[in-house]
Amino acid sequence: MWSFILRRLLYNIPVYLGIILLVMALLRVRNPVYAYLGKNADEKQVEQFEKSFGLQDPFIVQYGHFLWNGARLDFGESWKYKGTTVREKLLTSIPPSLSITVPALILTTMISITVGLISAFYRGRWIDRLLVIAAVLGMSISFLVYIIFGQFVGAFLPKQAGWALQPFEISGYKPWYTMASTDIFGVTVPYPSHISPGTWVAFCLLPVLISVIVSMGYDTRFYRAVMVEECNRDYIITAKAKGATKNKIMFVHMLKNAMIPIITRIMTTLPFLITGSILLEIFFGIPGMGRTLITAITDMDYPMIQGFTAVIALLYILSIILTDVLYALVDPRVRLS
């Protein structure tokens, strides 16, 4: 298995280099400096700017530089936020994204697999119809409606009316933990020293719930289709003929077989965990990766765009390799060779 992972990593090196090449080339179709300084910048300014960021070097040298520095997680300094490195920006914007996407993914997946299973098991009957209608309704309503409704009913109204229970903030983000670090055998290990669940609920729970409601519609329908296919398999009848209970059939026989499509679906969403949900981050004012990247694009902050893209692409490739490894773990017919 380790040799498989190593081989897949090696195969993906050219793919990754290609992605970086493409991104850098696209960003240089027009001179990035004019994009940043504006078209009225005088030549002196431009030359100075180009020099300080190495933009006068041949493309191949810039490419090499970027790769060499990138390998050490050094993507240079942001053009927009002077004195701040891209790495710092990455590190500060990942935790807010994760605070929302990880709980949302876990909740969505667990709920929608269970609902999909139940719906498939009772397919054609009233409980299934009800769940399918709820799923279609949930996914048919726009994301924005949920956001506005949630902010109004969940945060604005309670504040306005001065209710005792004011669980959510309308928008914004505060770190809900403080980091400390300790020295273990001379190595500095960071750890969260204080966790405040209240802060997390106030700033993160509402976006999490909205994300769950919206994606549940799609996921439930997908998992239901997967499970309906499983229901009709011959081995389900065999299990029933052995005397298995409905729960054993659903949660042991069907679920383990359904793990392959389930894993595929979860793994393809993994990179988005880090990048976050752009819409939610913008509307709730959460300084996550999605919002930071969008801001960088509108600001023509080239080092930021390059750095963020490089990291996201890497995560994507890693998650695809991880998917293959997980396949082999759940399906004995898949051999990693």
């Binding site: 011959d234 065999t238 003929a241 052995k242 005397g243």
Partner: protein, 344 residues
């Protein structure tokens, strides 16, 4: 109603007036219509007929394995087994019966085993539901069962997955699962149809041997009369959801009373008797659709002895004194008959 080959023996399973209906887009369809029979401990009963005649539905009705929301077993049906009427028994009672007292194997060994669990686990699962054996004892029993169904290297094989076994081997595993709790009755739904002819014979011999060893009654569902002749004691011939003839294998094969049985027997290729250049006899026409059953005898359309009465009236299932029955106004030989009379 069939009488037992051995009239003294108490039947362990008594099926009376079993009627199973399906809800379809074109309305209710009666897939199994008023079927009655007995099973005595240790005997093998064959149920034969063309595709769609109700053989499989009969067996799945007994096990209550049909999808509940589209099927309905008529409340007057009685499936008496150990004092319970399985036609109306609770799901809990059925779970206790399934796999423990009545077990079942299926037509498609390639897809009947769960591909993501080791075969040992799949045998042990049945033991887990029906015995008090602990984990180690269950593993021991699984290995024992694999040895019993003549799978080589059972200690190694328990840890293998279905895809590592051939079709014949998988059917042996299915038999091991079915027999691990030593059931009273094994229902085998076309167990050899999907296998090569050589493997078919092996599986049948294995089932024969195990039946003797464990004194399990077998209900063998098949469309292969050769298989019936080889292993069964008694036979039920079904046509369009009804039993049209039943009796001992000897009687059915040597003195069929119903023209359909006779036609079925004629369409078996016979070794030695084959006349070169001549086509094998077939039965003209097709089975009537269950949506549009004729008012008279369901076989009348295709029957070579058809008379006017057959088209207008439906014959009852008649019992003759010697333990056989048939559903025909004009049986081929009037029972009792001298065994020397040529039946066809």
């Amino acid at each position: 109603m069939i009488q037992n080959a051995n009239p003294q023996a108490e039947p362990i399973l008594t099926v009376r007036n079993l009627t199973t209906r399906f809800r379809t887009d074109r309305g209710l369809v009666t897939a199994v219509d008023d079927v009655s029979f007995d099973i005595v401990a240790g005997e093998t009963v064959g149920i034969v007929g063309e595709s769609g005649c109700g053989k499989t539905v009969t067996s799945k009705s007994i096990m209550r394995l049909l999808p509940e929301h589209v099927t309905r077993i008529d409340p007057r049906s009685r499936i008496m087994f150990r004092g319970n009427n399985l036609a109306t028994a609770s799901e809990k009672t059925m779970r206790e019966v399934r796999g423990d007292q009545i077990a079942m194997i299926f037509q498609e060994p390639m897809t009947s085993l769960n591909p993501v669990f080791q075969i040992g686990w799949q045998i042990e699962e049945a033991l887990k539901y029906h015995t008090n054996l602990n984990r180690a004892q269950r593993r021991q029993r699984a290995i024992e069962m694999l040895r019993l169904v003549e799978i080589p290297n059972p200690e190694r094989r328990v840890r293998e997955y279905p895809h590592q076994l051939s079709g014949g081997m998988r059917q042996r595993v299915m038999i091991a699962i079915a027999l691990c709790c030593e059931p009273d009755i094994l229902i085998a739904d076309e167990p050899t149809t999907a296998l090569d002819v050589t493997i078919q014979a092996q599986i049948l011999n294995l089932m024969e041997g195990l039946k003797r060893k464990l004194n399990t009654a077998i209900v063998l569902i098949t469309h292969n009369l050769g298989v019936v002749a080889q292993v069964c004691d008694r036979v039920l011939v079904m046509y369009a959801g009804r039993v049209i003839e039943s009796g001992t294998v000897h009687d059915i094969f040597h003195r069929p009373q119903h023209p359909y049985t006779q036609a079925l027997l004629e369409s078996i290729p016979k070794r030695g008797k084959r006349e070169h250049g001549k086509r094998l006899p077939t039965i003209p026409g097709i089975v009537p659709s269950l949506h549009e059953l004729p008012p008279g005898c369901r076989f009348a359309e295709r029957c070579r002895y058809k008379q006017e009465k057959c088209v207008n009236e439906e014959p009852e299932l008649l019992e003759s004194g010697d333990g056989r029955s048939y559903r025909c106004f004009f049986p081929l030989t009037q029972a009792p008959v001298a065994p020397t009379v040529e039946g066809r």
